[in-house]
Symmetry: C2
Subunit: 138 residues, 2 copies
DNA sequence: ACACTACTTTAGAATCATTATAAATTAGAA
DNA sequence: TTCTAATTTATAATGATTCTAAAGTAGTGT
């Protein structure tokens, strides 16, 4: 219970009321050591595994979008079927395992020296995203 | 009319019957100097601008998928709303203009020195895709 | 030219992720 | 406690894509 204080504070300081649904989602997403990659569907399944306190799909969408807007989550465009989200909001890249459809983080340092030689007049670079597709090497 | 011969041959040699719908789509996609980026919706609008010979949505999807499978088109994951296709099937990257949602080709040479330091055991790299998001620099 | 069969096209239905809606619930302030 | 605005929720709506099954067409053999 005391653990939730961090999340309650986090939510409150972002102008989001700390409802039990949001706290539950916070715990699931942010109370972990390693980066977590997920789809809304994944999240819904995990959240609603225990029947006692279900969170509706609409709330999951709302909450994830709020979190993204606040910068707590990154959205990753991998394929058009589903949206992937990433709890690692730092500047980094990804492996995509074509066999399992799993995302794996690549630290910024793991991809060195990305230099873009071409420029578009009147435009500035906002971000550079690298997706490395991998597959079984058998 | 004679122009179509190229496309008829191309289709035939790929085991695709040269129907008038496919030829029409071929002309639209491949009879141009510059790379063409499009969504199915774009294509449908252009194809069906003239009312005389409409091509159904289902046929457009079928044809584009066939072309992709044959390697005549590349599919690009930019955002989950829509699928983008690219008539440039060579190894290259993209700018994505966040203001207009437009894709712009980046030659392979325009992005130099992509080296991935990390490896995943049992996996080999299939492709490396770089997406450079740009926006108005006003 | 004719007939046959497999390939294509097509309209419309089905699907699936996501968003909108509107009513019921809840948090925080007075 | 009471009030109001924020939130949750079930359900409907949307929009891209896929499926389906019937009608049309290309290519082969006659």
């Amino acid at each position: 219970m005391e653990n939730n204080c961090i999340f309650i504070e986090k939510l409150r300081s972002s102008g989001l009321r700390p409802t039990k649904q949001r706290i539950k989602i916070c715990k699931l997403l942010f109370d972990r050591k390693k980066t977590f990659h997920f789809t809304i569907n994944d999240l819904s399944k995990i959240l609603n595994k225990e029947i006692r306190q279900k969170v509706s799909l609409a709330t999951i969408y709302n909450t994830i979008h709020s979190f993204k807007k606040k910068g707590y989550l990154k959205e990753i465009s991998v394929n058009k079927d589903k949206s992937y989200f990433d709890t690692n909001t730092s500047n980094h890249h990804h492996f995509l395992d074509m066999n399992t459809n799993e995302l794996i983080d690549l630290k910024s340092e793991d991809v060195h020296n990305i230099k873009i030689k071409k420029r578009i007049p009147g435009k500035k670079i906002n971000s550079i995203e690298v997706l490395v597709k991998i597959e079984n090497s058998n």
